[in-house]
Assembly symmetry: C2
Homo-oligomer: 379 residues x 2
């Protein structure tokens, strides 16, 4: 465990909110918890707070280690830590598990106070707007009136964008990475196949599988395997695995033969063992529903009209799930709305997953931008 | 039913082969049937025969109608018929269902003569080379010493290519459309997820589902839905479906909401009701295994050294499952091997499925090439 530039051992905290939250779908959560982690110190005028929003399968554990035994650090440890682009010597960084998540925040695995049993499938379908409102309540709790920056990749970038629209005065900078202003038909199609794999797994049991101590692992596994292919670039897959076989010659059967099969199945198995199916379903729905321009006559430029934040937008050349073209839609709308924006298209062969990787030009670009954010926070 | 340019009502024929066929995997099929359809008339010197090879879910019913009530014609009716690019007034056209198929040729649904029961999962994994050998036996049966052309799209194009390598003197022209000299890691990955969806469906029952009168429809449905997305182009999907909803507003549930979901689920249901799961598995394996250069030191140019056929190679601009780059690999190897080749990259927004569509420039290009084939056959 390399502790250089690491925030070290971190302890998550569960923050209770006893105020009812009315959701976009009309339902009310009587109360909820948000599981969070924070790194660095909030300064006296509370101007150095950075919110990190997570993607589909992410959570509050952004950086550091929960114990000296933990093998892997938080999911964005390459980005967050002392001396790293989101520098915890400068910023007070907040990571959280979103509502509906399966890592400690109130979601399908939490107790429904109305029934005394787990929510399971009864947990409401939440949206990016709902998340942003719950995050605003978290900001209030932390005493943060305005974020120095809200940062996220993929679905996390959507939250950063929604923040700037719904709470314009509360965000100074938004970093929207490998994201899109809304999903395409192809994106929705992949999400729907993933959902169908889970929903039609006999062990799903209408989403109340926990009652029977079952887990719809088959469906989750297929969903993740398919998703995983789409997060990677064809070139990168070719370079890493090619047509390499695990043993000599073809087996003429349906066991693992190609290295890529072995890798994918491993990823699928690992995910199915640790992620909640109901959470997967609702996270993909939040992705599908995200369309901040919709309430502004489907005009993104109009949606951005009252935005006060400055933007950093980044995309990756081989990301075909959230291609550079999708980021450029946002960049064009920001320019048309006369909002400051810096855009970088990073050359990478890691596809969508590149946003999680330690690609040097990418890391440097975020570092340079966060340096501006810091100077802004000082002024 | 528009009969203009149609071969009209056609009657399939089942051809029995009582000679044992030793397969690439070492197993022997003691006997087999091939279900075929033919259109047009074989000329006196038997020089005008064209073989049409099918793709993953295709069969012998290439053109025309089985009855006046049949709603849809054969799968390549746009290409095959009187006055059409593969002109049945000029050519004797042969379509077949491949070994291992589920449309009448010997495959998992056929009786295993050794047990008196259906083969089911015991049907051997066959390869493109096996198919080509069985097709050569069919050519012998039909009295065709040399095909005027062997034609196919996708997996069908792979058979056309293998024909030119394995039986160089028996093919005058090969039309290899929307195909590739071998699958990429990403291709194999998608196939493996499809297979995993089927193999882990509890109704699959180790492939012996027919015994229990069950069908692993869940798995087949997921496999087809995912496959279908990859056969289409993101642009085409966007134009056709966009983010259109089936009813006003979001439902905040997991029913059908977006038009693209409705379309995909319909495609999945239709396929699961008509296709055999064991056949799907073995067809995807034939795709994965296809790599004609492998037995020539992984040198495609060497593999093509003794080829006598002239080539027509076509790809489609938005086909990302078998991209133009993959076709160009073949074209480059053909040029390096000093073999005649015509190549066209068709602009289309229909993705991989474009090879089945009536795209005017594509249809014209095939027609022009088939005109050469005809003149060749006359000389």
């Amino acid at each position: 465990m390399n502790k250089k530039g690491s925030v070290g051992i971190v302890v998550p905290e569960k923050i209770p909110f006893e105020t009812p939250l009315v959701l976009e779908n009309g339902q009310t959560l009587p109360r909820f918890d948000l599981m969070i982690e924070t790194y660095g110190t909030l300064n006296a005028d509370k101007s150095n707070a950075v919110l990190v929003c997570h993607a589909l399968s992410g959570h509050h554990h952004v950086a550091g280690y929960h114990s000296p035994q933990e093998k892997h650090p938080g999911w964005w440890d390459s980005m967050v830590g002392p001396g790293k682009p989101i520098d915890t010597d400068r910023f007070f960084v907040v990571g959280l598990n979103n509502l509906g998540g399966c890592h400690g925040s109130t979601g399908p695995l939490a107790e429904n106070p109305e029934t005394g049993r787990d929510y399971g499938a009864d947990f409401p379908v939440v949206t990016v707007k709902d998340w942003v409102r719950s995050q605003a309540m978290l900001a209030d709790y932390l005493g943060v009136t305005q974020w120095a920056a809200v940062v996220g990749g993929s679905l996390g970038g959507m939250q950063a964008l929604q923040w700037t629209i719904d709470f314009p005065e509360r965000v100074r900078h938004a970093l929207v990475i490998a994201s899109a202003p809304k999903l395409s038909a192809q994106n929705i199609a992949f999400n729907d196949v993933a959902r169908q794999a889970i929903l039609t797994d006999p062990d799903f049991d209408g989403g109340h599988y926990a009652k029977e101590s079952k887990i719809p692992t088959r469906g989750l596994r297929i969903a993740r395997m398919m998703g995983h292919i789409t997060y990677l670039a064809e070139d990168g897959l070719g370079e890493k695995f090619g047509r390499d076989l695990r043993s000599d010659g073809y087996q003429y059967g349906y066991g693992v033969e190609f290295e890529i099969e072995s890798y994918l199945r491993y990823q699928g198995d690992k995910f199915a063992g640790r992620f909640d199916a109901n959470t997967y379903l609702l996270m993909t729905k939040a992705l599908d529903y995200f369309d901040p321009a919709a309430e502004y006559g489907h005009n993104l430029q109009k949606a951005l009209k009252h935005v006060q934040a400055k933007f950093f937008v980044a995309s990756f050349s081989t990301d075909w799930r959230f291609s550079p073209e999708r980021s450029k839609e946002l960049v064009k709308a920001l320019i048309a709305a006369r909002k400051p924006v810096q855009y970088i298209e990073v050359q990478s062969n890691h596809g969508h997953d590149a946003f999680l990787m330690e690609d040097e030009p990418y890391i440097r670009a975020v570092a340079a931008y966060m340096n501006n954010v810091y100077e802004d926070a000082q002024s």
